[in-house]
């Protein structure tokens, strides 16, 4: 069977999503994403450069993965947002350390 080749969107740092895009992609409410930003778990790339207008926020596409993880952690382990933010930070740190460890081995 021949099939066409699908082109996906690479969710890298160069790709940017609006608050609305992010909500649609994660099936989450804007309020929840705003809370994640307020908690410091997530940072729009232009948080400090534009006037503080949530509708103008742009997120780098790798935020999507963070939001997904945050949703699962909150849902499955019933941790509050501060806990989710802490877990995300620690997970990121562990990943960075493990990568470094692999390069040193």
């Amino acid at each position: 069977m021949t099939q066409k080749i699908l082109n996906g969107i690479l969710l890298d740092e160069q790709t940017e999503l609006s608050l609305h895009d992010l909500c649609v992609a994660c099936s989450s409410s804007e309020q929840w994403i705003i809370e994640l930003v307020e908690e410091g778990a997530l940072e729009p790339v232009n948080l400090h450069t534009t006037s503080y207008q949530q509708t103008e926020w742009r997120f780098s596409a790798d935020s999507l993965q963070k939001v997904h993880t945050a949703m699962r952690l909150q849902r499955d382990l019933s941790i509050n947002l501060a806990g989710v933010a802490l877990a995300l930070d620690l997970l990121e740190e562990i990943e960075a350390l493990e990568t470094r460890l692999k390069c040193l081995k």
Binding site: N7, A25, D62, R72, D76, A87, T99, C103
Partner: protein
């Protein structure tokens, strides 16, 4: 279908209190949560655990399960006796529909609690219900060369779907997907609308492909940067040389300066994984000794020992 021992899965005794069960769940959920856990079978364990907890946390379901489970052991071939759940009051609706988190239950669970456990049915809402389809996630293993050059991968996905009579079947489908060059370990590719179909005219979910690099015997990867251990001879390191260095897309020439020590990190700018800011290739020198396995080789080493008067431990004070 195998009988599942939910007590064994949750590592609690059969007479555990509801509080003990809750504690055991919380502890194991943290241990096996797929976003956190390093266990290789975390996802399977976490699903099993969620399923076990759905039953044991609910005194009604637990009582029904206990009644049934007296004569069974984990792994035994199992078919639920007809009307096994008769006589148990059940307050919810169709159970399989009431929890957003765990939709992927085992056959064992489905056979017991999936289709209207207990006699009180509410049924799912039919009209006017519209929901976006579920997102799917799948891992794609690629070689480092693919990240340099891009590639096309065929991905076989198994997804549970409802057939026309409402039974869950595992449907297989193959997708050909372009992997763009410049991807990094752990990065996601989103394929819009390739997840589960929506309900009631809602949009389909998305498919996320998670990029994973096949471990390479030569190269190590950190983001867009690539690392390589490069063996060099003592005379190349001491006198300087131009040597061939492999890269994932073919060899290049590298100049080694005279007096390069072992463990020196040499940067080949832009020879890492391509991107708008391409990564670098780091070559780490490893000085290797030729074996002293012939008279001629031994004589050369002895000559060096006599003529160089070199003490590598002088800084250690000995």
């Amino acid at each position: 279908m195998d009988f599942k021992d939910y007590y064994q899965i949750m590592d609690v005794k059969k007479d555990a209190s509801q509080d003990e069960i809750k504690r055991a769940y919380k502890k194991l959920a943290r241990k096996y949560h797929p976003d956190v856990s390093k266990e290789s079978n975390a996802e399977v364990r976490f699903k099993e655990l969620g399923e076990a907890y759905q039953v044991l946390k609910d005194p009604e379901k637990r009582a029904a399960y206990d009644q049934l489970g007296k004569n069974w052991q984990a792994g035994q071939d199992f078919n639920p006796p007809p009307d096994w759940d008769a006589g148990f009051e059940f307050s919810g609706g169709d159970f399989a529909g009431d929890s957003a988190g765990y939709t992927d239950y085992s056959d064992f669970f489905e056979s017991l609690f999936g289709h209207g456990f207990g006699s009180v049915h509410q049924g799912r809402q039919q009209g006017g219900y519209r929901a976006r389809g579920e997102d799917h996630h799948a891992k794609v293993v690629i070689d480092l060369e693919d990240a340099y050059q891009g590639a096309t991968r065929s991905i076989v996905l198994q997804a549970p779907e409802l057939d026309s009579s409402g039974h869950v079947i595992n449907k297989q489908r193959t997708l050909n997907v372009k992997i763009p060059k410049g991807v990094k370990q752990g990065q996601r590719i989103r394929l819009s609308g390739q997840g589960s179909p929506g309900m009631g005219g809602g949009p389909a979910g998305d498919l996320y492909l998670i990029i994973e690099f096949r471990p390479d015997s030569m190269f190590r990867v950190d983001g867009h940067d690539v690392y390589l251990d490069l063996p060099v001879t003592p005379w190349e390191a001491a006198l300087g040389a131009s040597v061939k260095v492999p890269t994932p897309v073919g060899p290049v020439d590298l100049k080694i300066a005279a007096g390069t020590p072992g463990g020196r990190k040499l940067r080949l700018k832009g020879r890492g994984i391509p991107a708008s800011t391409p990564g670098d290739l780091y070559v780490i020198t490893q000085i290797t000794l030729p074996p002293a396995d012939s008279d001629a080789a031994k004589a050369l080493y002895q000559k060096m020992a006599q003529e160089l008067a070199y003490n590598p431990r002088s800084k250690l004070g000995v």
